[in-house]
Assembly symmetry: C2
Homo-oligomer: 325 residues x 2
């Protein structure tokens, strides 16, 4: 039985929606445990009552320090204490990162935990790592991100030998900034299936199974893609409804648009995965649907089942051991 | 009379298309001069015959060194020699940058020339600077980019007091990497109308008139936006044509889709502007339509008319004078 701690209080849609998702995910092999306000109706699921809530606007370090009895911190702590195997929260990424670093600590050999986000590319899921945990990186960090991303893709997405690319500003090895030029060399010399640089336009095309980048560039690029999808679909709707023929046409293409939206829907993969900690941490979107929460919980359980944390440790334990940079 | 040197040989669509654009732009006040192979039919326009062509795949430095008689290098040289006031080329950005740095040289006070790209945002044109000239930057470079972008927006887009934002990973001043944290302070202390950080999702929404970033992040973000637009429209077409009702609907929304495409069309603004050199350099898209070339030539002439180069020099001449970093 795999136990997943679920923070019910961080969702924009309210606790009800998170609990519904947890109920969907519950099975004979998977027990979601709800962390949230006393009195929540969790049905069959166990409720661990907590008294505080971490807001999305709070500074992560403050939130962690002053909200020891928040659903977010308690859910992470449950993993640290061995009471749960993984944690899922739709709350603040920064607060989850802060809580994870202090309570769970890093896997031996991991220099920097990183955020892996599955991108619904045209050729299937593709992992972008780091999507925002580390704004400033060194080349050896990017090499570790690539390795963590590859382990994630192997175990969680069942891709046997993931193709790795480095996000840069040209496909040629000599194109890039100081960081990517150095990282390119490290990746080329590694035992990963490194296929060179990719560009911003390749993100949704699925040029790689694992797309490696520093957390600053990754975050800007991910939000650029998300923002463009939203702006474009909104603008198309405006243009379409500006005429009668367009409105009728819009009605007729609605099923197609819905299929596309579903294909591009980040909810399919449940959110962002914080890799490199001694326990699997999943950060769901703040406005996750119950289905998205259920998918996040199932994927977290799959990560436990496949021992992603242990596999990361094996792959990342360098000769220099627990050297921390 | 403003004279614009036009490189006719770098276009994916062939010289014919560039010459047509130049003919469209020609007026009593604007004389395009064509640089290209002897024998090209340029109609009324003057042709300066050249014998070499710079390919898109050539290394910029090599291209510049070995192709002194290329249409690209000769067109840039015409500006350096005072035979033309500005240059427009649909050729290699890297080669244009290399030729511009050597032949035109920097405006006194400018540390790093940068690429300004007008983005067709929902709220009208918005300038992204630097879109790729400088992969590694320091905070003071970003401050200069912001100033150059503001001058461009004032003179070329007629925006009286451009709102400037810094591309980062969160709106709060303390969110970012080392570079943006430092740049944020410099921008906040400057006399620009600095309105804080913007995120990747704001690019197409038009949160700023000038969006400042280093050339690496800018290039990745710009290509992410362009790639997402293309992937999304392609995917929508695939989904729509998968059913009969969808195909009919697609037919009915075609005018709306065309309006949207036109609104988002980068051709409206002609391409990328290389700012900070002693002469205006415009790099049109490699597959620019005649209209795009004409717009690029007109905008270059407007830059000459408004003395963008002189205005940049006035705004950027620091107390420390011609100090070069």
């Amino acid at each position: 039985m795999i136990r997943v701690a679920v923070d019910a209080m961080g969702s924009d849609r309210g606790a009800r929606s998170v609990i519904e998702g947890a109920q969907q995910a519950a099975s004979e092999a998977l027990e979601p445990v709800i962390f949230g306000a006393a009195g929540l109706d969790t049905g069959e699921l166990k409720l661990v009552p907590t008294t505080q809530v971490v807001g999305m606007d709070e500074k992560p370090a403050d939130a962690f320090r002053t909200k020891a009895d928040s659903s977010l911190v308690r859910a992470v702590k449950a993993v640290a204490d061995g009471e749960a195997d993984a944690v899922v929260s739709p709350g603040s990424t920064g607060a989850m990162l802060a809580a994870g670093l202090v309570l769970l600590r890093r896997v031996p050999g991991v220099r920097r935990p990183a955020i892996a986000v599955p991108i619904p590319s045209r050729q299937g899921p593709s992992i972008l790592i780091d999507a925002g945990a580390n704004a400033d990186c060194r080349a050896e960090h990017l090499l570790q991100f690539a390795t963590m991303g590859a382990v994630f893709a192997e175990e969680m997405l069942a891709i046997p030998r993931p193709r790795v690319r480095l996000l840069s500003i040209g496909e040629e090895p000599e194109k890039g900034n100081q960081l990517t030029l150095e990282a390119h060399e490290l990746l080329a010399a590694s035992d990963l299936d490194f296929q060179g640089n990719a560009e911003g336009r390749d993100i949704l095309e699925g040029a790689a199974d694992v797309l490696v980048t520093d957390g600053f560039t990754g975050n800007v690029a991910l939000k650029a893609v998300e923002g463009t999808v939203r702006t474009l679909l909104d603008s198309l709707r405006e243009e379409i409804t500006a005429s009668t023929a367009g409105t009728l046409g819009g009605f007729l293409i609605r099923p197609a648009a819905r299929r596309l939206r579903r294909r591009l829907d980040p909810d399919t993969y449940g959110g962002a995965y914080l890799l490199g900690l001694r326990g699997l941490v999943v950060i769901a979107h703040g406005n996750s649907s119950p289905t998205a929460i259920a998918n996040a919980i199932r994927l977290a359980a799959r990560g436990v089942d496949h021992d992603v944390v242990g596999r990361l440790a094996t792959r990342l334990l360098q000769p220099e051991g627990a050297e921390i940079v």
